[in-house]
């Protein structure tokens, strides 16, 4: 059978030329921009100022009269979380026209419009027959009357705060387009006693300052605690009887172990994003270099080999790079290099010295402490060295750590009597003090718990 016969039998078969021209035409047609009818005038409403969103959060109703208190508690936690983020303005409950809102009914939106609420949260807490607590919530867009989110959770009654944080994250994410950070913890060094006889203990708390737990007894000095990505383990440095060592502590069981067995001091430990390795500094004579240790095989890899002090390493979220502080250029500056070692790229070039770099979980920025002009500043810089931005300055700020969503930085500030924890948004807005039981330093933010 010849080609001609074939083409006669299959009338839709295209020749090569037809195919080529057809594809080209399709390509051109696909490139034509789709535009609305030209008769419609387009009125540009240009860049406006950011304004915190007014949100109404009436008390969650109780499924039974006994559940009313927990409903009020959950509402307060959510209100506090959203307010502290700086992105929301919870409306005072005294202004509400509807004091009690039934979660099963569509709200009377006019009553919420009249108090200028743009979003409305309704919810209910109900104790179940099996003793568990059922939490339900709905998020409404007041202007359009549309439901934006809604979930229900079951938990043990003692976890009601955790549920409130999870609901806060849902609301935050739906209204900002960013992941939340409220269901997370902070490990820090709790400081008590006089300056001369300061007792330093490792402590753990929820990100809003509640549920504080002490992890060490305070007999030995502890510094630089860091969370594992699994959130069950913490690595830190302790000055014991011998040389300072890096330890690994299981938060749930209280078990602890020394990381590696090196001759000499180890410090500045930090987990890799997969939790499989710990990277740290090892002092050798007057110098210190970076090493990574595999937690399973206990094998170590040397990452730097310089006659300088390389310290404070931190992994990028994808684990492919590390940032660290080094004085190889004369004074401490921030460097970035591949996680396997090799050529390091200096990224900080401003006046003064740069230290304690920490990579954001989003990967877009590296936070640092900058010292210069008699001030300690907390700042951020992009991994390529551009976009340096100082978030706060004064005496004495240090030790930044990112919230799980990379939007907020926590650090400690010591104005004389003792250090306290503060948070600031990465734009430099919404700086506020973090509640702690006493003086506190060296914070490290955990990943999201859920």
């Amino acid at each position: 059978m010849t080609d001609k016969d074939l083409s006669r039998q299959t009338p839709f078969r295209l020749s090569r030329r037809q195919l080529v021209s057809g594809m080209a035409t399709l390509g051109v047609l696909a490139g034509i921009p789709v535009r609305p009818a030209s008769a419609q005038k387009r009125i540009i409403v240009p860049e406006g100022e950011f304004v915190p969103l007014p949100i109404a959060i009436p008390n969650f109703v109780g499924g039974s009269p006994a559940d009313g208190d927990v409903g009020v508690g959950v509402t307060q936690v959510i209100t506090n979380n959203l307010k502290r983020s700086g992105l929301f303005v919870p409306i005072d409950q005294a202004a509400y026209i509807d004091k009690v809102v039934n979660i099963d009914a569509v709200p009377q939106f006019n009553n919420w419009k009249s108090i200028n609420a743009q979003a409305l949260v309704t919810g209910r807490m109900t104790r179940q027959g099996d003793g568990r607590l059922k939490a339900e919530f709905r998020l409404w867009d007041v202007a359009t009357g549309q439901p934006l989110a809604g979930q229900q959770y079951f938990t043990q009654p003692e976890n009601w705060r955790r549920i409130a944080h999870i609901i806060s994250d849902q609301i935050y994410e739906r209204l900002t387009g960013e992941k939340g950070y409220f269901d997370s913890r902070v490990v820090f060094v709790d400081e008590t006693g006089s300056k001369e006889r300061r007792v330093k203990r490792l402590a753990l708390m929820d990100q809003d300052g509640f549920n504080v737990r002490y992890l060490t007894r305070g007999t030995d000095l502890v510094i630089t605690p860091r969370f594992s990505p699994s959130t069950q383990e913490i690595t830190y440095m302790e000055f014991g009887q011998g040389e300072p060592r890096v330890y690994l502590l299981n938060v749930e069981t209280g078990q602890r172990e020394i990381v590696g067995n090196f001759p000499g001091m180890t410090f500045s430990p930090r987990f890799s994003p997969d939790g499989q390795r710990v990277i740290m500094s090892l002092q050798q004579g007057g110098n210190s270099n970076l090493f990574a240790m595999d937690l399973r095989s206990k094998s170590t890899t040397r990452l730097t080999d310089t006659p300088a002090i390389d310290t404070s390493p931190s992994y990028s979220p994808d684990g492919s790079h590390i940032t660290f502080e080094s004085d190889r250029g004369g004074k401490p500056q921030i460097y970035v290099m591949a996680a396997t070692g090799g050529q390091a790229q200096r990224i900080s070039f401003g006046d003064g010295t740069y230290s304690t770099p920490v990579w954001s979980p989003r990967g877009d920025y590296i936070a640092f402490t900058k010292q210069g002009g008699g001030q300690f500043s907390i700042g951020i810089i992009k991994p390529d060295g551009s976009g340096e931005r100082i978030l706060t300055s004064g005496f004495h700020n240090e030790g930044p750590t990112f919230a799980p969503n990379g939007r907020v930085v926590m650090f400690f500030r010591d104005l004389g009597p003792g250090p306290n924890l503060f948070t600031v948004d990465i734009s430099g807005r919404f700086e506020q003090r973090q509640p702690t039981p006493g003086f506190a330093s060296d914070p490290a933010w955990s990943p999201l718990l859920s």
């Binding site: 080529v20 034509i32 005038k41 387009r42 409403v45 994410e173 739906r174």
Partner: protein, 308 residues
């Protein structure tokens, strides 16, 4: 060495280039975007600019079939108001030039205007109408007439078609300011009809009279911005943009829910679009000039942080 070239490949490349090149030039369009804030705020523009903005095209095709109506009442169309008060006697001062044989406005009266629905009914030469009214006698005009009789116009040596003469310098006499005033009663009467329509004729689509979006657009922008709670986008410039099609009623309220253009690609863009939607809904009713209702009853607000 001879290189073998596949003819089909060459043909394909040439065809691609031709088609793409043709497409580039044929389909390149520039979106009509309002310029940022070189908006003419209505209350500050000069009379010159106003007349320029509202100028139509005399020779343009009429696109607005509705008659001019400024007052709701029993329909009573009136003459085309334009040009009615154009005839004004020149001011006579000591050093004023001798009056010209012909008033310059001559063609205005006889030349029929382009067909306008309202003006069609009773076309009248305007000077006559003025002269009819006894109370409109202008002392200056009277003086002029007398003067004209004294000095009959001299035909010029070479009499080609009349050319506009160059105005000579005139001195200003502050004692005769009163003579500058036009003492006639205003001849304008409101056009009446069923529905208000302030545009007698919009001219062609290319005429400028129909485009008042700079004015009402700025007013809309000012009002909607007050309700816009822009979400916080952090440091990253995501260049968000949210466009809607909206239909407004005469009272400035929304006729239907704004229709968003396109689907947002990221959660932040979705939030950005929702915030803009909330602002449009919350800020209604919009106070926009009723005169331009035909323009703002259907338009597309674009909320953006893109620098054009």
């Amino acid at each position: 060495m001879k290189v073998k070239v596949d003819k089909t490949v060459v043909a394909s490349i040439v065809l691609h280039l031709l088609v793409l090149g043709w497409g580039l030039f044929t389909f390149s369009t520039k979106a009509f975007v309002m310029p940022d804030e070189d908006v003419v705020a209505v209350d500050v523009i000069s009379a010159d600019q106003l007349s320029h903005v509202t100028a139509g095209m005399k020779s343009g095709k009429k696109e607005n079939p509705k008659p001019l109506v400024e007052k709701v009442a029993e329909a009573k169309p009136i003459d085309d108001a334009t040009g009615k008060v154009t005839e004004k006697a020149p001011v006579v001062t000591d050093t004023a030039p001798p009056p010209q044989p012909k008033p310059v406005e001559k063609p205005v009266e006889k030349k029929p205007d382009p067909p306008k629905p309202v003006a069609k009914t009773e076309p009248k030469p305007e000077p006559k109408q003025v002269e009819k009214k006894p109370d409109m006698t202008d002392p200056i005009a009277e003086a002029l007439k007398k003067d004209e009789k004294k000095h009959p116009p001299k035909p010029q040596a070479s009499t080609p078609p009349p050319q506009p003469q160059k105005p000579k310098d005139r001195t200003f006499d502050s004692t005769k300011i009163a003579a500058l005033l036009d003492k006639r009663d205003p001849s304008h009467l409101a056009a009446t009809g069923d529905t208000l329509n302030s545009n007698a004729a919009l001219g062609t689509t290319k005429g400028k009279a129909a485009d008042n979006s700079a004015t009402w657009g700025a007013m809309f922008q000012q009002q909607v911005e007050r309700c816009w709670k822009k979400p916080y986008g952090g440091l990253d410039n995501q260049n968000p943009e949210a466009a809607f099609s909206i239909r407004l009623k005469r009272d400035g309220t929304l006729e239907s829910s704004p229709a968003p253009e396109g689907t947002p690609a990221t959660p932040y863009l979705r939030v950005y679009q929702e915030s803009a939607l909330r602002a449009i809904i919350e800020c209604q009713p919009y106070r926009l000039p009723a005169a331009y209702f035909e323009e703002w009853k259907f338009f597309a607000p674009v909320f953006t942080e893109r620098k054009s």
